[in-house]
């Protein structure tokens, strides 16, 4: 299996006035294509910073990062935007849906920047909405949806360009446990049935245990990198 992510000694520090804050003190790991990985750690451990670097939303201070076979340091801002659009899907803790905009339009948003033929847009968006089980909410506005439904819209939006990898930043952080499980079952389904690579950040062990592998960060360093022995599946939860 090829690696979709290869990270070597990745560092990130922030200048804040006079002081330098080290967010990431040098991490090294690979992620296989099709892998489902969770990054855990207390707040301030650098897990969000790592996800931003992996998702090409931010640039590392030093270190090497190959994404999908590309050395990203050689790419311009616009080229990175294009990679984000075509190869990466994002799911955020706060959903980040456009207010007063129907579900299907929210899901279409990445297509605007994709260069895909417009004739395909609507069908793609509808399919993505149906895939997350929200066909009956197609023309509702975000304010009319529950938290779990909002996050499913966000997942549909992440899927609409058919990316190779989905980065999820605390996807269940704003949800009650039932909606959270529902969202996790969809993410797991994407991994198992559609072969999407998943990298998710969480501080909840129950969420992390849906994954195959957990990297634990403390103070910007990898403390442990282990396979999950007793993997949860959302269906198991419902059975119990």
């Amino acid at each position: 299996m090829t690696n979709i992510i290869e990270v070597k000694n990745l560092k990130k520090s922030y200048h804040d006035g006079k002081t330098d804050t080290v967010a990431l003190a040098g991490v090294t790991f690979d992620v296989r294509k099709g892998e489902f990985m969770a990054i855990m750690g207390p707040s301030g451990s650098g897990k969000s910073t790592l996800l931003h670097l992996l998702g090409l939303l931010d640039e590392p201070t030093s270190g090497h990062y190959r994404f999908n076979g590309k050395d990203i340091s050689a790419y311009s801002r616009d080229e990175l935007a294009d990679i984000r659009n075509r190869e990466i899907g994002f799911v955020f803790q706060a959903f980040n849906l456009l207010p007063r905009t129907p579900v299907v339009e929210n899901v279409k948003l990445p297509l605007y920047y994709s260069g895909l033929p417009e004739a395909e847009w609507h069908a793609r968006a509808e399919k993505a909405v149906n895939d997350v089980g929200l066909g009956h909410r197609m023309y509702h506005e975000p304010a009319e949806l529950s938290g779990g439904e909002k996050q499913r819209v966000a997942i549909a939006r992440a899927l609409v360009t058919d990316p190779d990898i989905i980065f999820a930043d605390e996807p269940t952080g704003n949800l009650d446990s039932k909606s959270g499980k529902n969202v996790m079952s969809i993410i797991q389904h994407l991994n198992e049935e559609h072969g999407k690579t998943i990298v998710l950040i969480t501080h909840e062990t129950s969420t992390a245990e849906h994954s195959e592998r957990i990297i634990r960060l403390i103070d910007g360093r990898i403390e442990s990198d282990e396979k999950v022995k007793h993997r949860l599946s959302a269906e198991d939860e419902f059975v119990k």
């Binding site: 931003h52 998702g55 939303l57 931010d58 801002r77 616009d78 935007a81 294009d82 984000r84 659009n85 075509r86 994002f90 955020f92 706060a94 980040n96 456009l98 207010p99 007063r100 905009t101 948003l109 990445p110 605007y112 920047y113 994709s114 417009e118 939006r157 360009t161």
Partner: protein
């Protein structure tokens, strides 16, 4: 991202904040409305004035005593008694002014008139029988005095409608004697009301033979104006030149800069009035432009607030693949759309107001005020408002495009 999609996105952005969008463009709406109103009314006023000036006959030429002052020390040149009887002789000479059709010396003065116990302050206008032809005047009763009355310094008068009203009330004035500056004048004709908007208002005038005015009423031998007409419009310029030469000869002037008279054609007058109304219009446009500028600053302020408020949206769009350019275009277009919409509303409002006012002026003042749609003002207003959107939206849009996706997403 294609232009159509940028356009759609911008439009949706505005639609989601409808009431704020409306308040934002209010300044632009007011500014453009004011400009449209001023330009339209200015053009209407100009048409009205020029129409009246030209109504006098485009072949009319006036000679005014004194030259136009060339500086503050030259003011005395305005008041002069340079036009005399001998000038009439010189001008009437076909050898001097071959294309002269009519010539009429005039004198103006003010004085009080009375009939019985009624008195009224009037303008005394000494002229010849040609006044009827030159000013296109018709009596409502009676008739104008004749050339023989001019030659014999007859004590006759044609009086304006206001004079009739004040002196005679319900009596018939024809054949009655009125007293003007202590002299009895017989009323031979009465003029109808000339209407409020007329440039030359004969309503409170008493028109008498200029000879009578010279010898008995005003006691001045020189003329206030000599009004002439050339045979055709095409001969106006050449006749004006001939008049100058004849008068210089008659006055013994060799240096044209020492002229003690001014020759004015209707075209000169029309041009001058046109210049004045345009200058006034553009001054008012400049004042109204301040409203536009303030509106522009308002746009910038609101756009900056919007950019801050929508930081998260900007971050999201960038995370999903929007380039800096996409974001810049989106916000720039939002602001240009806002101001352009404001411009269009302003053009419509300004036009409606100007139309209403032109109707009001026509009805209220009884003048023939034409509504003018200022194409230039509309084009300018639209262009300027879109330009304001570009200029004042540019800075906020560039701020938006520079936001890093993670800074933007992190923003709470």
């Amino acid at each position: 991202m294609t232009y159509r999609h940028i356009f759609q996105t911008a439009l949706r952005g505005l639609a989601t904040n409808r009431s704020r969008s409306f308040l934002t463009i209010l300044g632009i709406v007011i500014g453009i409305t004011a400009i449209m109103l001023v330009v339209s009314l200015g053009a209407g006023a100009q048409d009205l004035i020029l129409g009246q000036v030209q109504g006098l006959g485009t072949n009319t030429i006036a000679v005014i005593p004194g030259r136009e002052p060339t500086g503050p020390s030259d003011v005395t040149a305005l008041f002069s008694d340079s036009l005399k009887e001998k000038d009439l002789v010189a001008l009437r000479n076909k050898a001097n002014v071959p294309y002269l059709k009519n010539i009429m010396p005039t004198l103006f003065g003010a004085g009080s008139s009375s009939y019985g116990s009624n008195t009224y302050q009037v303008t005394i206008f000494g002229a010849t029988e040609l006044i009827a032809e030159i000013f296109d005047l018709h009596t409502s009763s009676g008739q104008f005095f004749e050339n023989s009355d001019v030659l014999s310094r007859s004590n006759v008068a044609v009086i304006g409608s206001k004079v009739v009203e004040h002196l005679f009330e319900n009596d018939n004035p024809i054949g009655q004697n009125i007293k003007v500056k202590g002299r009895n004048l017989r009323v031979v004709g009465v003029l109808p009301p000339s209407g409020g908007g007329s440039l030359f208002n004969f309503d409170s005038m008493i028109i008498i033979p200029y000879t009578t005015a010279q010898y008995y009423i005003l006691g001045q031998k020189y003329f206030s104006r000599i009004i002439m007409q050339s045979t055709t419009d095409a001969k106006v310029a050449v006749t004006a030149e001939d008049i100058k030469l004849a008068l210089r000869d008659s006055h013994g002037i060799t240096d044209p800069s020492k002229d003690d008279f001014t020759v004015q054609t209707q075209q000169d007058l029309a041009n001058r009035l046109g210049t004045i109304t345009s200058a006034l219009t553009w001054f008012l446009v400049a004042v109204a432009s301040i409203a536009l500028f303030v509106g522009g600053v308002g746009i910038m302020n609101i756009m900056l607030v919007a950019v801050t408020e929508r930081t998260r949206e900007i971050g999201l769009r960038k995370a999903l693949g929007a380039t800096d350019r996409d974001i810049l275009s989106q916000f720039l277009l939002e602001s240009v759309l806002l101001t352009a919409i404001g411009g269009i509303i302003g053009i419509i409002l300004g036009t409606l107001l100007a139309f209403g006012i032109s109707i009001g002026l026509s009805k209220g003042l009884g003048v023939n005020w034409q509504f003018v749609f200022p194409w230039m003002g509309a084009a300018l207003g639209f262009g300027v408002s879109a330009f304001i959107g570009l200029v004042f939206g540019g800075y906020p849009a560039s701020q938006a495009s520079k936001k890093s996706p993670i800074e933007a997403l992190r923003y709470e």
